[in-house]
Amino acid sequence: MLEIKNLHVSVDDQPILRGIDLTVKAGEVHAIMGPNGSGKSTLGYVLAGKDDYDITEGEIFYNGEDVLEMEPDERAAAGMFLAFQYPMEIPGVATMTFLRTAVNAQRKARGEDELTTPDFMRLIKEKSTLLKVKPDMLKRPLNVGFSGGEKKRNEILQMALLEPKLCVLDETDSGLDIDALRIVSEGVNALRGEDRAFIVITHYQRLLNHIVPDFVHVLANGRIVREGGKELALELEEKGYADFVGEAEAA
């Protein structure tokens, strides 16, 4: 589904990612772990198409298509989704308006009919109940005055509504208390399936107790320095990242 080959990315001539190779197949859950500043969030943004980054080398293919040639909205319509670490607040745009605009824009881009108001209302009711998002939250301006947990639940609600094929979760656990973490994880797990893949970016192992990965990749100083199964996350929890930081610098 996703193939990243030798990806080098710089910001203001500062190399951030220095040769990433990653292959994600449908149905798999990959965790990207690593210390602060290792380039984890950059990877998420580059996949989503943020334009502050210079791709100096490498390629990204999504279902055989050259992702780097696609606009952010084209990537989204093709089924790529980034759950933001810091979801944006947009005063003046009602959450419901935003959700409906997004759903219908993607449907339109794929040549599907836009959802009618009753159909959309049914869909949103179903998904928001699942994620314990209260109706009054949907009437408020997007993320304005939302708590950290509400913002993250709202991100997962968007994911549930848009039904992407490749979901990238950027530090979705940050700022969540135990209950919110459980709700968010349940929302993610409900979406797991054979035709959907996840890349879970996280600093801590605790999220991976709830969303159990098939593969764990350790990112340090812009490179993947170690790969393994879910047990690697537990090892990291115990030993920390110190070894890898040193290893990457020496390399």
């Binding site: 989503a48 198409g49 943020k50 334009d51 606009e71 952010p72 909205d73 990537r75 989204a76 319509a77 989704f81 980034l82 933001f84 979801p87 944006m88 947009i90 005063p91 003046g92 745009v93 308006t97 935003f98 605009t101 997004a102 824009a105 993607q106 881009a109 301006p141 968007q158 848009l162």
Partner: protein
């Protein structure tokens, strides 16, 4: 030695002065004739305002108005284009090329005097209304209006009446020959009465000049809602004066949306004459291409205990230029004044420009007054967030622009008008160079 100083007029100024010819068959009361002559004398003295006149620093009218088109005389032949608000059921008065083409709607508690009758009236209230000067004193555009006005009329809302259906004045230009259209309207809202007036300025034809003035007196305890929508062609010149006098315990609210005209200048004058009153002004300007938009506002807190709120939102694309000059004057006696003015702009291109000059002039010591001006681009982070959810760039910008002006639009309570304004805004965004 005698030196005679002769004023040299531009071609346009000379044409405007020559246009001041006594009209055959026009009957005006003495007061109206006196006001007309005095206004023309004042214009002869001032000429068109230019950039060395402080209030016109950013809008050099003498330079911009190369040619003054002849004042169009009512010709009786015009036909009104489709009214976008035809289904709203408003009391509509339609003027096409200065000709009144509809019937005067029968509204209980409201009388309408066509301009010629108003200028021939002995009613002291009508006289007082039409001879009221802007709070800062007259200006050359207002003088020209007084000297050459030739269509319009005065509404009188009887004290204590509640007019729930809005009155809609359509001022349409349909004639293709270049002309200028000089209108004067007046509204007297009697004590304790309430009414809503919507003025729409339409005209898809190119090259016309409009000088539109309206004077409003809001009586004690009265409420007047004033809506103005301007959608004229982008080669028109639109100059207007809004002069509002507010009595005690009264409310005046104004919402304006303007998308048209090559050059637009609005002079807005609000004066509080009675205590415990409110004025709430919201304006939205959507301009692109080479459009120039200037709003110059003067709020005179002449008495204590009044509140004014002014919110101006500009969206500028292409190489459009926006100007906001706003002044709140709080006179020595006007204690407990509460005034807040803000002017915010979104600049959509490198060539667009906004000049904002908010000022407070406060002579009382127990007041709460503030002003703010911001201008900036659409937030790239927000745009990326919306696009990452699959919303194409233009649609994402549209959402953010609608969010930006939403704060001003939300004060428009009439649902039909609100939806109409949203449609106009969406149409503008769909076509604008953004």
């Amino acid at each position: 030695m005698n030196m005679e100083l002769r004023r040299v007029y531009t071609e346009a100024e000379q044409a405007l002065i020559d246009g001041f010819a006594p009209e055959a068959g026009a009957h005006r009361a003495d007061w109206a004739e006196t006001a007309r002559s005095a206004a023309m004398d004042a214009f002869r003295e001032s000429g068109l305002p230019h950039r060395r006149v402080e209030e016109w620093k950013y809008t050099d009218l003498r330079n911009a108005l190369r040619e003054a088109f002849p004042v169009a005389r009512p010709n009786g032949a015009a036909e009104a284009p489709v009214n976008p608000l035809a289904d709203a059921g408003f009391h509509t008065l339609t003027f096409v090329d200065g000709t009144f083409v509809s019937d005067v709607p029968a509204i209980d508690g409201v009388s309408f005097l066509p301009l010629n009758d108003a200028l021939n009236s002995d009613d002291p209230a009508v006289k007082a209304l039409l001879t009221t000067m802007p709070a800062r004193g007259s200006n050359p555009v207002f003088d020209l209006n007084t000297a050459t006005m030739n269509f319009g009329g005065v509404f009188v809302v009887e004290p204590g009446t509640e007019i729930t259906t809005p009155i809609h004045i359509r001022s349409v230009v349909a004639r293709t020959e270049p002309g200028s259209y000089v209108s004067r309207f007046g509204v007297i809202v009697g004590a304790g009465a309430s009414a809503t007036l919507l003025e729409s300025f339409e005209g898809e034809v190119p090259d016309f000049q409009r000088n539109a003035a309206i004077q409003v007196v809001v009586g004690a305890g009265a409420t007047f809602k004033h809506l103005r929508v301007e959608t004229e062609s982008d080669s028109a010149i639109h100059l207007s004066n809004i002069v509002v006098e507010i009595g005690a315990e009264a409310n005046y609210s104004k919402f304006g949306l303007a998308t048209g005209a090559a050059l637009m200048r609005n002079d807005l004058s609000i004066r509080f004459n009675g205590e415990h009153s409110n004025a709430n002004i919201d304006s939205v300007f959507l301009k692109t291409g080479k459009q120039h938009h200037d709003t110059t506002m003067y709020v005179d807190h002449a008495v204590p205990n009044c509140t004014s709120r002014e919110l101006f939102k500009s969206v500028l694309g292409g190489s459009a230029r926006g100007v906001f000059q706003g002044k709140i004057l709080v006179r020595p006696d006007a204690q407990k004044t509460d005034g807040a003015m803000s002017a915010n702009a979104i600049i959509l291109s490198d060539q667009a420009e906004m000049d904002a000059k908010p000022e407070l002039e406060i002579y009382a010591d127990d007041v709460v007054c503030g002003h703010g001006a911001t201008s900036g681009q659409l937030d790239d982070e927000l745009l990326f967030f919306l696009r990452a959810r699959g919303i194409p760039e233009r649609e994402a910008k549209a959402l953010l622009i609608l969010a930006f002006i939403g704060e001003a639009l939300e004060d428009v309570e009439d649902e039909i008008v609100h939806d109409h304004l949203m449609d106009l805004t969406r149409d503008w965004i769909a076509e604008a160079d953004i």
